[in-house]
C-alpha cells in the first residue's frame, strides 16, 4: 500500500527489488532448499572441526612430520612400523581390555543404580543428584584425588586395609598381578591397569545409571501393573518389560560410552602417564607420548588412526541394531 501512494519514479525503482525478495522467499519456501539451508551451519561446523582435522590427521599419519617440521609423504611406513612395535601391540591390547571390562561393569552397575533410584527411596532427589557427582566433577581433578589415594607412600586405601583389616594392600600404580588357581596362572595383569579401570568405572557408572533411569521413567506403569496381575516376578518384569523397552537407550549409551572409553586420555595421563614401563598406555596416551614429548607427529597420528576402524565397527553395528529395532 505504501508503494501505491508513492510517486511513479519511486515505484519504478522499488518494484524490481520487491520481486527479488519475493523470488528469494519462494525459493526458500521449498522444503528441499530449506532443508539444506538449515543443515548448512551444522555441516560447516562438522567440516571445520571434524572432517578437516580427520583428513589432516590422516595426511599427517602418512608423513614423517615432526613438531616444527612439515615432513614428507612416506605412505604407510608409520603404520607398518607400529605393527612391529611391542609397545603399540600392548597399547592395542590394553585399549580393548580397558574398554570391554569397564563397559560391561558400567552397564551392570549403571542398571542396578537406575533400578534402585527408580524406586521410592528416602531423599530420592538428593541421592539422584549426589550419584551424578563423579560424572560432573572435572576428570583431571577427581583423578588427582585418586592419584593420592593410590600413592605408594600415602595411600589412604592401603592405610585403611592395613589398619582395619590387617591386610597389606598392593602398590596400586606399580605392582604386577598374577592370579593363580591351583598353581596355574589364570590372570596376568598389572595393578595400574586395574587402578585406571576402577577410576573409569567410578566415573562412568553415573552416566549409565542416570540415562537408564530417564529411560525407565518413560515406561508406562500400566505394563508393570498388568504383569503383576498376571503373577510376573520382579525378575520377569525386568527381563520382559524393562529391558526390551530400554533397548534404544542402552544402545545409545553403549555407543557413546565405548567411543569415549576407547579414546580415554585423562585418567591414564594423570594416574600413570602410560607407565610403569608403558604397561598402561591406551591409544590416546601412546599417540600423545609419540607425538608430543617425542615430537614424532606422524607416528602419533598413525596411532590415533588405528583407533578409527575399531570405532567405526562399533558405531556401524550399534546403528544397525537401532535400525532393525525400528
Amino acid at each position: 500500500m505504501a508503494l501505491e501512494k508513492s510517486s511513479a519514479r519511486t515505484v519504478s525503482v522499488a518494484l524490481p527489488r520487491a520481486n527479488v525478495w519475493q523470488r528469494f522467499d519462494e525459493w526458500l519456501d521449498q522444503e528441499r532448499v530449506l532443508g539444506y539451508v538449515l543443515l548448512a551451519p551444522a555441516l560447516i561446523l562438522l567440516v571445520i572441526f571434524v572432517a578437516y582435522p580427520f583428513a589432516f590427521g590422516l595426511y599427517i599419519s602418512m608423513t614423517d612430520s615432526r613438531i616444527g617440521h612439515a615432513g614428507s609423504f612416506i605412505g604407510l611406513d608409520n603404520f607398518q612400523q607400529l605393527l612391529d612395535d611391542p609397545t603399540f601391540r600392548q597399547t592395542v591390547a590394553n585399549s580393548f581390555l580397558y574398554t570391554i571390562v569397564t563397559t560391561i561393569v558400567k552397564l551392570v552397575a549403571g542398571m542396578m543404580m537406575a533400578l534402585l533410584l527408580n524406586r521410592a527411596i528416602p531423599f530420592k532427589r538428593f541421592v539422584r543428584a549426589a550419584v551424578l557427582l563423579p560424572w560432573i566433577v572435572p576428570t583431571v581433578l577427581s583423578t588427582l584425588a585418586w592419584l593420592w589415594m593410590f600413592d605408594s607412600t600415602y595411600s589412604v586405601i592401603n592405610w585403611l586395609l592395613s589398619h582395619y583389616l590387617n591386610f597389606q594392600g598392593p602398590m596400586w600404580l606399580a605392582d604386577r598381578l598374577d592370579l593363580k588357581l591351583g598353581g596355574t596362572s589364570i590372570l596376568k595383569t598389572t595393578w595400574p591397569m586395574i587402578a585406571i579401570m576402577l577410576v573409569n568405572i567410578w566415573r562412568g557408572t553415573p552416566f549409565y545409571g542416570v540415562s537408564f533411569l530417564a529411560g525407565m521413567q518413560t515406561i508406562p506403569e500400566e505394563l508393570y501393573e498388568a504383569a503383576i496381575m498376571d503373577g510376573a516376578s520382579a525378575w520377569q518384569r525386568f527381563w520382559r518389560i524393562t529391558l526390551p523397552l530400554l533397548r534404544h537407550v542402552i544402545s545409545i549409551v553403549l555407543l557413546l560410552s565405548i567411543i569415549l572409553t576407547l579414546a580415554d586420555f585423562q585418567i591414564v595421563y594423570v594416574l600413570t602417564r602410560g607407565g610403569p614401563a608403558n604397561s598402561t598406555h591406551l591409544f590416546a596416551t601412546y599417540a600423545f607420548q609419540l607425538a608430543v614429548p617425542s615430537t614424532d607427529l606422524g607416528m602419533g597420528a598413525a596411532v590415533s588412526m588405528y583407533m578409527f576402524p575399531a570405532l567405526a565397527i562399533v558405531v556401524f553395528f550399534t546403528l544397525l541394531s537401532l535400525r532393525k529395532e525400528d
Binding site: I67, H69, P86, S152, P192, T295
Partner: protein
C-alpha cells in the same frame, strides 16, 4: 501448508497483535544471515583492534615496540628459587622499560606446551629447556652463539656436557642456565646405627641397598616416566657396567651386550631390596618418602635437604614422637660411586632458548645475559642453597659452597667431570633425545625389575625400540 511452515514464538507478548508474534522461517533465516554477516564484518581484518604495542591507524607509534618479554620455565623444586627469579625479572624489567612475565609450570608438562607453541609459531619469547630438549626443536630456536660465547669468555668457560645439550647442529641454540646436581642422599643416623658403609662401587651400592632393607630403611630409586630422577640414576648405572645404547657413530645400536645384561641383572638384584612402588615413582615421590622417614637413601638434587632445613623446627618437634622423620642433621650426601667401566653420572641441566617467533630478541638476549652476571647469579645460588650449580667455571667458587659442608657434594658431582649425556658414547642428537623422551633406557630396567620380562627379553625389547630412532 503455509501455516505449517511457520514457527511460533513461545514467549508471546500480550500487547502485540498475534500476527506480529509469529516468526516465519524466512524471517528466521534472514535474521540469522544478517547476524552472521554482521559478526563476520565485526571480526574481519578491517575491524581488528589496534595492537597495544605497535602503531595507530595514522602510523604514529603508540608505545615503543619491544616493551614486553615472556618466559616459560619449570616450577622449581625449591619454591624460593622461583620467587627470587620472578622478583629479579620484574626489577630488571622496570630498569629496562620492559614488562617481563615469567610463567612456571610442572617440568613434565613443558613438552606439551612447547609442542603447541612450536606448531603455532607463537608463544613465550624465552623457554627454559631441560637436558637435551634443544635438540628436539632446533628450528624453533634462534641462534644465540653471540651471547653464549661472550658469557663463556667472561665467566671461565662452560662445562662441556651442558654445552653439548645446547648446540644442536653446531651453533648455540640455547644458553645454559644451571645444573642441578644429583648425588646420593642418605640418612647418616641410620647408616651409623646399622654400621652401613658408603658405596665405593656400584656393586657396593647393591650391598648397601640390601643392608638398608635389612635394617628396615630401604633404598628407593624412581623407575617411572619422569623427567629427572629415573634418568640420572639408570643411564649412569648402564654406563658403569659398560653398557651403552649406541656406538660412538651415534647410529649403530649397541645395547644387546654382556655388559648390558650384567647391568640389568644387577638392577633386578638391587630392585628386590628396594622400597616397593618405585616403578611408578616420579620426581616428587622420593622426596616425599625420604622426608617421611621411609627411605634410608635415594639419588636426588638438594631439594630434600632444603625442605628439611626449611621445616627444621617442625621436624625436630615431630621427631620426638616419630624418630623416623628426617631432620637436616640426619641427612648426608655423597657422589654416586664408580662402576667397573668407570665413573659416570648424568647431571641434570637447564638452559634458556629464544624462540624464533620472538619480536623482542634484543631484550631477550639482554635478559639472559643479565641473569648470568655474578652479582645476580651468586644471589640466586645462595637462595636455592646448593640446588642449582653454575654451568660456568667462574661459579665453581661461588660463596654458597662455603655456607654448608653438606651441600658440597652437589658441586663435586659437576666438577669431577663424570657427567655424560643421553646417547653417550654417541654424540648428542635428536635421536638420542627422542630415545630419552620415550624412556627406553628406563623401561629396559623397569620391565626386568617388574618381572614382566627376563633381563635378556628386556634388552631385546629395548633394542627393538631403539631401531625406530637410530637409523
Amino acid at each position: 501448508m503455509e501455516q505449517n511452515s511457520e514457527w511460533h514464538s513461545t514467549s508471546a507478548t500480550p500487547d502485540l497483535p498475534a500476527e506480529s508474534q509469529k516468526l516465519t522461517r524466512r524471517q528466521f533465516i534472514k535474521t540469522g544471515a544478517a547476524a552472521t554477516l554482521a559478526l563476520a564484518a565485526a571480526c574481519g581484518p578491517g575491524n581488528t583492534p589496534a595492537p597495544a604495542t605497535g602503531t595507530t591507524a595514522s602510523g604514529t607509534p603508540a608505545v615503543q615496540r619491544g616493551t614486553s618479554l615472556s618466559m616459560l620455565q619449570w616450577s622449581h623444586f625449591v619454591p624460593e628459587g622461583d620467587a627470587f627469579f620472578d622478583k629479579w625479572a620484574a626489577d630488571w624489567g622496570k630498569k629496562n622499560n620492559v614488562e617481563v612475565k615469567v610463567e612456571h609450570i610442572n617440568a613434565n608438562d613443558i613438552p606439551a606446551r612447547l609442542a603447541g607453541h612450536v606448531q603455532a609459531k607463537a608463544g613465550p619469547d624465552i623457554v627454559q629447556y631441560l637436558f637435551n630438549w634443544p635438540w628436539l626443536y632446533p628450528d624453533a630456536l634462534l641462534d644465540v652463539s653471540d651471547i653464549a660465547d661472550k658469557l663463556g669468555q667472561q665467566l671461565g668457560g662452560w662445562y662441556k656436557d651442558i654445552e653439548s645439550y645446547c648446540k644442536p647442529g653446531g651453533g648455540w641454540k640455547a644458553v645454559p642456565f644451571s645444573f642441578y646436581g644429583q648425588v646420593l642422599n642418605y640418612r647418616g643416623d641410620w647408616f651409623k646405627e646399622s654400621n652401613i658403609a658408603l658405596p665405593k662401587t656400584m656393586d657396593d651400592l647393591i650391598e648397601m641397598a640390601k643392608a638398608l632393607n635389612k635394617a628396615g630403611h630401604p633404598f628407593g630409586q624412581a623407575l617411572g616416566h619422569s623427567f629427572t630422577d629415573p634418568r640420572v640414576f639408570w643411564y649412569p648405572w648402564l654406563w658403569s657396567f659398560g653398557g651403552k645404547e649406541v656406538m660412538e657413530d651415534g647410529k649403530t645400536i649397541a645395547l644387546d651386550s654382556p655388559e648390558t645384561l650384567e647391568a640389568v641383572t644387577k638392577a633386578v638384584e638391587m630392585f628386590n631390596s628396594m622400597v616397593k612402588g618405585t616403578l611408578s615413582w616420579d620426581d616428587n615421590s622420593n622426596n616425599r618418602a625420604f622426608l617421611a622417614g621411609q627411605l634410608g637413601a635415594t639419588t636426588n638434587a638438594a631439594s630434600i635437604y632444603f625442605t628439611a632445613k626449611r621445616e627444621k623446627a617442625d621436624r625436630e618437634t615431630q621427631k620426638k614422637s616419630n624418630p623416623a622423620i628426617a631432620t637436616p642433621a640426619d641427612i648426608e650426601h655423597t657422589v654416586l660411586p664408580a662402576g667397573k667401566a668407570g665413573k659416570f653420572s648424568l647431571q641434570s641441566a637447564l638452559s634458556n632458548g629464544i624462540m624464533s617467533w620472538s619480536k623482542n630478541v634484543s631484550a631477550a638476549k639482554d635478559f639472559i645475559v643479565a641473569a648470568m652476571q655474578p652479582d645476580v647469579y651468586n644471589d640466586y645460588l645462595n637462595t636455592v642453597q646448593g640446588y642449582n650449580v653454575g654451568p660456568l667455571h667462574a661459579f665453581d667458587n661461588a660463596p654458597v659452597w662455603n655456607t654448608d659442608p653438606k651441600i658440597k657434594p652437589f658441586l663435586q658431582a659437576i666438577t669431577e667431570g663424570s657427567s655424560r649425556w643421553p646417547g653417550w658414547p654417541g654424540p648428542p642428537s635428536a635421536a638420542s633425545s627422542q630415545v630419552a623422551e620415550n624412556y627406553i633406557v628406563i623401561d629396559l630396567f623397569a620391565k626386568a625389575c617388574s618381572g614382566e620380562f627376563t633381563p635378556k627379553e628386556s634388552i631385546t625389547a629395548a633394542a627393538t625400540a631403539l631401531k625406530r630412532f637410530y637409523k
